[in-house]
């Protein structure tokens, strides 16, 4: 029995997809890249743009046609708006929110598909369920829960009677990489930014128990993972939904930092995305304190103008945001800073755009993901006039990109001559080169055909720079005890 999954959208969807794969492979399904030979076809959908949803309709219509000559079942999960969900029910065999994933084996069984694991009673499989339970009931006295190693394990049943997002998190994912991984720590969003549909597709904020997060992280680190990203729509409101019964985000980072120190292992922990409204100095102070907490902060600003922030319902002012950047610069001067920006949002005047251009100059971001505004189905602003002409949006986009390139180049030029510790991620597009990232997520490429370096730390001396990337020469494979340690970038 073969399966094929199409994953659309963001890191959160990729992380969700890893758990879907684990469930399917636990049932005995085998992955295939060839859609035509799959018996089970699925899509993890993304509603951020209409285009993404249109793609799902095209795909399922094609799949449904091929049902005439073969046995095929289809499913869709991920970020789906209520109106599309209604349509999908008529087109797909199974439509379910990610929180229902633990029940997926049952749904498949209802289609009469017999898989090796499917023959086993689902209740029996409960015994094998890999769950990290808190050792202490009080998260403030948290100790790490015992979890099994990831490698080479086949999981079978993943069911618990009270299935929901919490049970979904109990499913160990099939990580796509042997050295980089995402850990979901929270699902949903309460913020309702007017340009965003996430609160309508993923529902309200639910925090995953900290014992599970730390259990999964420990497991990954013990298996040699070197770059781990904590994922959530609003990571720094972690724990707020549980009032005082769960750690705060700063406390969660502190636990991870302490584990990092005790483990004597070398790894970097990132998180994305935080929301400026909930970003206090305590988070920045913890990052400054622990070696394993990567000195790279992604803090979406969206606009540099107070009126636009109001219209976007971001619930912070530039005064508050400026305070956060100042705290980062003061407490972690070596940190790189990334952001997200939308240009051409409904009603954005020249003057309001100019305020965004000015903050690019002021904050000198290392990277900014700049989007030209387009209404996202389901979001409040999709019902408002999209009144900034396309060419104006484009022009604003180019102006910001130019500004960004200037600062990125200046920063990267300053790295020339320095020896940096990097994590080698794979072959570069440039023939005979490998591509790597510094702790601050600056791209470094260097000449080497040695693929065994992939997934390892190395020391590279930077020799040249362009905006957004640098080039260097391999100095050595990075040894943990290396005193040179490489200056941070």
């Amino acid at each position: 029995m073969k399966y094929h999954i199409v994953q659309l959208g963001c890191q959160m969807n990729i992380s969700d997809g890893e758990r879907v794969q684990q469930v399917l492979e636990g049932m005995g399904f085998v992955p295939t890249d060839n859609e035509a030979e799959a018996n089970l076809l699925g899509v993890i959908a993304c509603s951020v743009r209409q285009k993404g949803i249109d793609k799902v309709y095209t795909m399922v219509n094609k799949w449904n046609k091929s049902k005439n000559n073969k046995n095929l079942i289809t499913f869709v999960s991920g970020c789906v708006l209520p109106a599309d969900r209604e349509q999908f029910l008529k087109l797909f065999d199974m439509v379910f929110p990610m929180s229902d994933l633990p029940d997926f084996p049952n749904m498949i069984k209802q289609y009469g598909i017999v898989t090796p694991a499917g023959l086993q009673s689902l209740d029996e499989g409960l015994k094998d369920l890999k769950i990290a339970e808190p050792v202490s009931a009080n998260p403030k006295e948290l100790t790490l829960a015992p979890v099994e190693p990831i490698t080479g394990q086949k999981q079978t049943s993943l069911l618990r009677p009270d299935a929901g997002i919490r049970d979904f998190w109990h499913i160990s994912p099939k990580y796509g990489s042997g050295f980089e991984a995402y850990i979901p720590i929270q699902n949903g969003c309460n913020k309702f930014c007017t340009f965003c549909a996430v609160p309508y597709t993923r529902g309200r904020e639910v925090s995953r128990p900290s014992s599970e997060i730390i259990g999964e992280l420990k497991d990954l680190v013990n298996n040699g993972y070197k770059s781990i990203t904590l994922l959530g729509q609003n990571v720094n409101s972690y724990g707020l939904d549980k009032k005082s019964d769960e750690l705060s985000f700063a406390e969660l980072l502190e636990e991870i930092g302490r584990f990092g120190d005790d483990s004597k292992r070398d790894f970097w922990v990132y998180f994305t995305s935080p929301h400026p409204r909930d970003m206090g100095d305590e988070v920045i102070e913890v990052i400054a304190k622990y070696k394993c907490l990567a000195k790279q902060i992604h803090i979406p600003v969206q606009s540099g103008d107070d009126s636009m922030l109001v219209r976007m319902n971001r619930k912070y002012s530039m005064e508050k945001y400026r305070g956060i950047i100042h705290s980062i610069n003061r407490l972690i001067p070596q940190a790189t800073i990334f952001t997200d920006i939308i240009v051409g949002f409904t009603g954005e005047t020249e003057e309001e755009f100019e305020n965004t251009r000015k903050i690019m100059e002021e904050f000198k971001y290392n990277m900014a993901y700049i989007a030209q505004y387009s209404p996202r189905p389901g979001a409040a602003s999709s019902r408002w006039a999209d009144d900034i002409p396309k060419d104006v949006k484009k022009e604003r986009y180019h102006k910001l990109t130019e500004e960004l390139m200037k600062h990125s180049l200046r920063y990267n030029n300053n790295l020339i001559g320095k020896e940096l510790k990097v994590l080698v991620r794979g072959k570069d597009r440039k023939e005979g080169y490998l591509s790597a990232l510094t702790e601050g997520k600056i791209i470094v490429r260097f000449a080497s055909e040695n693929e065994s370096l992939i997934g390892e730390y190395a020391l590279v001396k930077i020799s040249s720079a362009v905006p957004f990337s640098t080039e260097g020469e391999l100095v050595s494979i990075y040894e943990q005890s290396s005193s040179m340690a490489g200056s941070q970038a």
Partner: protein, 218 residues
């Protein structure tokens, strides 16, 4: 959407030809004055945001809705018969007054256009002794929705299309012609263009941005 709660519609209070109050069962729902809900007809996938109009101590849950020309949900809700169920999600949002500001007996300026008065109605009903002035911008005098709720002298109706309000002209004209204490805490709600202009004016009059809070309807 994670959970949908069904609340029985008990009555509709029509305030003008197009604006009405939905009176629903509260079913113990806790909220902070100023928050909103997502609301729609039962089993209908289309829902919209509506500020809670009733007070935190009221028995019923109320919203104030203006039927929008060519609008979908605001039209549907107007036609719903009493006794049927509505689906609600919430309470949601952060548009409420920090209790410390109330304790500190700060002066509040509430600025609303049209149905943007809803969260302020809830705040005034919920928080006794609030030292506020409410500027309400509408076109005609009949849009002074249930103005008797507000204490004498605290409600200022700005009418742009007739001269029957307390002030003839737009809210922004009123702001231009008046002075405000610099430590006033301002809350804005309703149409974005009004909010943008009013915020800029008040900032120029010396009120710091940290004292300006807004909820945009459209």
């Amino acid at each position: 959407m994670t959970s949908n709660n069904k609340h029985k519609l008990q009555a509709i209070r029509h305030l003008t030809g197009s604006t009405y109050v939905l009176e629903m069962e509260r079913r113990g729902m806790e909220f902070e004055a100023g928050q909103h809900i997502l609301l729609g007809a039962e089993d209908n996938i289309h829902k919209r945001e509506y500020s809670i109009y009733s007070g935190t101590k009221d028995e019923q849950l109320e919203v104030l809705v203006k039927e929008v020309e060519d609008g979908m949900v605001s039209k549907q809700l107007k036609k719903i018969s009493e006794g049927t169920y509505l689906e609600i999600e919430g309470p949601l949002g952060f548009f409420s007054i920090d209790p410390e500001l109330i304790l500190a007996k700060r002066k509040f300026l509430f600025i609303a256009s049209g149905t943007g008065i809803a969260p302020f109605h809830s705040m005034v009903k919920s928080i006794p002794g609030l030292d506020y002035t409410l500027l309400h911008g509408v076109r005609l005098v009949d849009e002074a929705y249930e103005k008797d709720t507000y204490e004498e002298g605290r409600y200022i109706l700005c009418t742009s299309r007739d001269d029957k309000g307390d002030f003839q002209g737009r809210i922004t004209d009123y702001i231009k012609q008046h002075e405000f204490d610099k430590d006033t805490v301002c809350f804005f709600c309703g149409n974005f263009n009004m909010i943008r202009e009013a915020m800029n004016l008040l900032e120029k009059k010396g009120i710091p941005p940290s004292q300006l809070h807004a909820e945009v309807y459209f």
